[in-house]
């Protein structure tokens, strides 16, 4: 069961620079385990120690976000295309929280 996987820039250090790799698996969890055999370290950047998908990584099967397909349990079919992207997120919240905390110390 061949699955095409698109690797984002930040993770290409694990794939020798390749942006498109191929692997196998019946589910996203399976696929990541197999990928890690070929590209050690990759899985650890995507899956937390508790075994969930990192919050700031987006994984898609074809055009769909796996969060809506069962996350790591999402099923794969032969010929599916998986895309991994770093979520782009951030903001002033932590800064504001730190400032508020600092002001209580004065």
């Amino acid at each position: 069961m061949a699955i095409e996987v698109r690797i984002p820039t930040i993770l290409r250090q694990y794939t020798g620079g390749a942006k498109l790799v191929e692997s196998t698996g019946d589910s996203i969890a399976d696929l990541l385990t197999n990928l890690d055999t070929s590209y050690p370290g990759l899985r650890g950047r995507l899956v937390t120690e508790e075994g969930g998908l990192h919050r700031f990584v987006n994984v898609y099967i074809n055009d769909e976000d796996v969060r809506f397909l069962g996350a790591l349990d999402a099923k794969l079919s032969d010929g599916d295309s998986v895309t991994i992207l770093p979520a782009v997120a951030g903001g002033a919240f932590a800064f504001a929280a730190a400032a508020a905390y600092a002001s209580t110390l004065r």
Binding site: T9, I10, N58, D65, T83, P86, V88, G90, A92, F95
Partner: protein
């Protein structure tokens, strides 16, 4: 150093003003490896928040694919801070996933002056860099409506030869 066209910067600031008091976010795509921001793409802030932003996952996939097809990359990733200074917060640095991008922050806390700063964020380490506005057709004095975090706060006519 970030070299950015006046028109692109104006479009980013206009987007940030439009979405104020929510944080605005988006990217400027450019040819891969060129380090030149060309195509401004405002993105939806899926969080619709005054203190947090997150690209909508499906919109991001569409935009990233389109860049891939056009052999582009995100040269600039920008967002606005609406009540605090234009400096990356701890949240920004922990989530920065594009080491080659310039992280541009626009603060809209002052209604008349947009504070603009640019940063590289690699492995959680933040390094500020100068911003140069490139536009030979504009009167340099017009730039004084922006406040840059670092000098030179001026129009640079020779930007492309600087790197």
């Amino acid at each position: 150093m970030l070299c950015i066209g006046r028109e692109v910067l104006d479009a980013i600031v206009a987007h940030a003003r439009r979405d104020h008091p929510d944080e605005a976010c988006g990217i400027v795509a450019g040819p891969a490896g060129s380090d030149t921001p060309v195509r401004h793409i405002p993105m939806d802030n899926a969080e619709r928040s005054a203190t947090f932003y997150r690209f909508d996952a499906i919109e991001q996939l569409k935009v990233w694919r389109e860049m891939d097809d056009r052999d582009e990359e995100p040269v600039v990733i920008y967002h606005s801070h609406t009540a605090t200074e234009a400096y990356p917060s701890r949240t920004d640095t922990s989530f920065a996933g594009e080491p080659r991008a310039h992280y541009l922050l626009v603060s809209t806390r002052e209604p008349d002056v947009a504070e603009i700063r640019s940063f590289r964020i690699v492995d959680g380490a933040v390094t500020e860099e100068p911003v140069r506005v490139v536009d030979p057709t504009v009167d340099p004095s017009a730039v004084t409506t922006y406040m840059f975090g670092q000098s030179p706060a001026s129009v640079d006519y020779e930007c492309s030869s600087g790197h």
